[in-house]
Amino acid sequence: MATITGGAAAATPVPRPAAHPPSNRRRRETRAALVFLAPAALGFLVFFAWPTLRGLYLSLTDYDLLTAPEFSGLDNYRTLIHDDVFWNSLWVTLEYVVINIGVQTVVALALAVLMHRLTQSTVIRGVLLLPYLISNVVVALVWYWMADFNLGLINQGMDWIGLDRIGFFGDENWAIPTIALVNVWRHMGYTALLIFAGLQAINRDVYEAAAVDGANERRIFFGITLPLLRPVLALVLIITVIGSWQIFDTVAVTTKGGPVDATRTVQVYIYDQAFTRFNFGYASAISVALFLILAFVAFAQLRLMRAGESDQS
């Protein structure tokens, strides 16, 4: 509504816009900005800010979803500090993130550089992206069946070449690496494309200069590509690390947190507490803890990787 009146006022002075006092104009710009921001702001308030605040409140209550929440102060947080399963879930998630992000970033970087240096083929780029287009649940189930101890293709193959069978999803030591690698398979093409876009932004002249100076591929990679790619890598890492911390779906359709607690990641534990044990207040407290951890991780990454600046002049 505010726009209509603003628009009407603006209609008259069209011939001499410069004559208008600047404060008036700024007010109009602010109004326009607010109008354009409104839909996004509404979404932010309804889907982010309000649930976050409510989550914070619920974390201070004893709430079983079916009866009204009861304020319990910091009880949930006190329980949290002494909850071994929670600490174990943090540890498990960290293990997952390190394997998942470590392998994924190296593989994606290698793929991106290969694409950049060797081929312009869109078909190959398309093929790389393919796993990302398949639903998470389908990917998880297909790998779950392929990696089955007795009936799976992978173990049959290992048997055939004389290796011992491995309980990929059923063995406590293998479950997290297996799930981490399944998700590397799904996400590496997508991540490679993001990095590839960053590579294309690097000035070609720098490479020519390096070639003139007789630098080899290895030196070019470590001396030019990697430093100039830093801001993009930082962004990619922040996005993928945060996504990685929230691992849930692959676990939910395969191991469901087991064997024992080997794959009970933070998100899986939150779900368990909330939806199978109806401890919504406690689940909210874990969510708040996860929120703080993620905020810290993102902040630390931004600072450490100086993501805001570029080395390219």
Partner: protein, 469 residues
């Protein structure tokens, strides 16, 4: 109209052949269309079904049983003109979560299949409709059900929260061809004995049926327990929501173990007692000897699939799996009862499901009519005809037994347990959700080799839940 008990009158449609049911339904459709006009004219019953019938939503989790209940729903719709039944199936994994969310958002089904481990928590939150007044009003006969089933659904407060629909038992499914190859006779399996020290004749059979990759049997010298091709006894997960229904309960109870101080409504669990821990030590020993798969090995496909693939010679499972096991193509599967334990008797958990009404239903009368029909001989006989599970009404499970017999399947290993009184009940307690969440990882750990006395700690944690109350 309901006061004269709808049960005898409703037996008609079920007995009719299917084709005539359809014909009747079409005729009835015309009649109900007219009554629909009358109803909407009165301004009532406008629930969007078009024919003026009120829709009653019904949930169940077992897809194998859906056809039987669909048939019941069809018969029920033909027997009256007020209600339509919408049967919905949701897999066990999501069933309880969806139900809880339904309770919160007031969109839960009017009637749903309920489980003994879940209903106490619903009762304390006033989510289930007590049925006592209705049962009394309609003079429902409660002595037609298998003994003890109706009592299971009487809450701690003395009110009735469900009418029993079926019961189950546990038994040993075996590959008959493998048995003969091993030089064993199926008749031998009918009277196996077990004890926690040396496993008795039961363990002898398991060892005999285990074969390594070189073809050496488990009871022969040179058996390689690290490269087993066929396990004598398959084990599936820590299982049964942590209560070991088809995993270890039959051994533990035949060894004198009782889950809780009293059942139902116990407040103290006994997982720290010798009778239980001896059993678990033996159970773990099966894995160590290579006769049963370790947790990492069994993870994944179900035991019936493992038997189909030749990885398992025997598997302990529930009576509701009979159709799946005996339906495996290419092999003959037989059933044997659980072994006789140190107590001198067999033991089998017998669980029973019931249909409950959501307290927040908009159509309590319609929901009750449907529950009453589900619990009637008319519907349960139909369920018996489909013979997936054993219905709760004695004469109806005899129908199922006969149907199995017609297919050459002898289900007496299950029914004998009931008739000889060797069944025991699922432990009905408060906090079942929390208890499962604690038990499952604990048993997975034991299956993966953790010391059995690690269960002491879990037992303490569980008992702590009751002390907080």
């Amino acid at each position: 109209m309901a006061s004269t008990s709808g049960t005898p009158g409703t037996t008609g449609p079920a007995a009719l052949p299917r084709a005539s049911v359809r014909l009747r339904r079409r005729l009835l459709g015309g009649v109900t269309a007219l009554s629909a006009l009358a109803l909407t004219a009165c301004g009532g019953g406008a629930f969007g079904t078009g024919d003026g019938r009120t829709t009653i939503t019904y949930w169940l989790w077992d897809a194998n049983q859906q056809p039987a209940y669909q048939q019941c729903a069809e018969d029920f719709e033909n027997s009256q003109s007020e209600y339509r039944i919408d049967v919905q199936q949701h897999g066990w994994e999501d069933y309880w979560t969806q139900l809880a969310l339904g309770f919160v958002s007031d969109s839960a089904p009017d009637v749903f299949t309920n489980h003994l481990s879940k209903y106490p928590e619903y009762v304390t939150r006033d989510l289930l409709m007590p049925l006592d007044d209705l049962v009394e009003r309609d003079h429902l006969p409660l002595d037609i059900y298998e003994e003890g089933l109706t009592e299971l659904w009487t809450g701690e407060d003395g009110a009735r929260y469900g009418l029993p629909k079926d019961w189950d038992a546990v038994g040993l499914f075996y590959n008959e061809d493998m048995l003969r190859e091993a030089g064993l006779d199926p008749a031998q399996l009918q009277n196996l004995t077990w004890n926690p020290e040396d496993g008795g004749t039961y363990e002898d059979v398991i060892a005999r049926l285990t074969v390594d990759e070189n073809g050496v049997r488990g009871d022969e010298p040179g058996f390689d327990k690290h490269h087993v091709r066929t396990y004598g006894l398959w084990m599936q997960g820590a299982g049964g929501d942590g209560f070991g229904q088809a995993q270890w309960s039959m051994y533990a109870v035949s060894n004198g173990f009782q889950y809780t101080d009293t059942n139902p409504w116990g407040t103290h669990f006994n997982f720290d007692q010798p009778a239980f821990q001896e059993t678990m030590t033996w159970w773990q020993h099966l894995i160590e000897e290579g006769y049963s798969p370790a947790f990492a090995v069994q993870d994944g496909q179900q035991s019936a699939d493992q038997m189909a693939a030749g990885n398992a010679a025997m598997a302990m499972d529930g009576s509701w799996m009979t159709g799946t096991f005996t339906g495996i193509e290419g092999i003959r599967v037989g059933i044997a009862p659980t072994p006789i334990g140190p107590s001198g008797e067999r033991a089998s958990m017998s669980n029973s499901l019931a249909d409950s009404i959501f307290a927040g239903t908009d159509h309590p009368e319609g929901a009750w009519e449907w529950v009453k029909y589900l619990a009637s001989p008319a519907c349960q006989r139909v369920v018996g005809e489909y013979h997936v599970v054993f219905p709760a009404i004695t004469e109806a499970w005899h129908v199922a037994q006969q149907k199995f017999a017609e297919e050459g399947i002898d289900v007496s290993p299950f029914t004998d347990q009931v008739e000889q009184g060797t069944t025991f009940r699922f432990p009905i307690t408060e906090h079942a959700g929390e208890i499962s969440a604690l038990l499952i990882p604990a048993f997975e750990a034991v299956m993966s080799g953790a010391p059995v006395d690690s269960l002491d700690e879990v037992n303490e944690e569980i008992n702590g839940l009751f002390e907080e109350d």
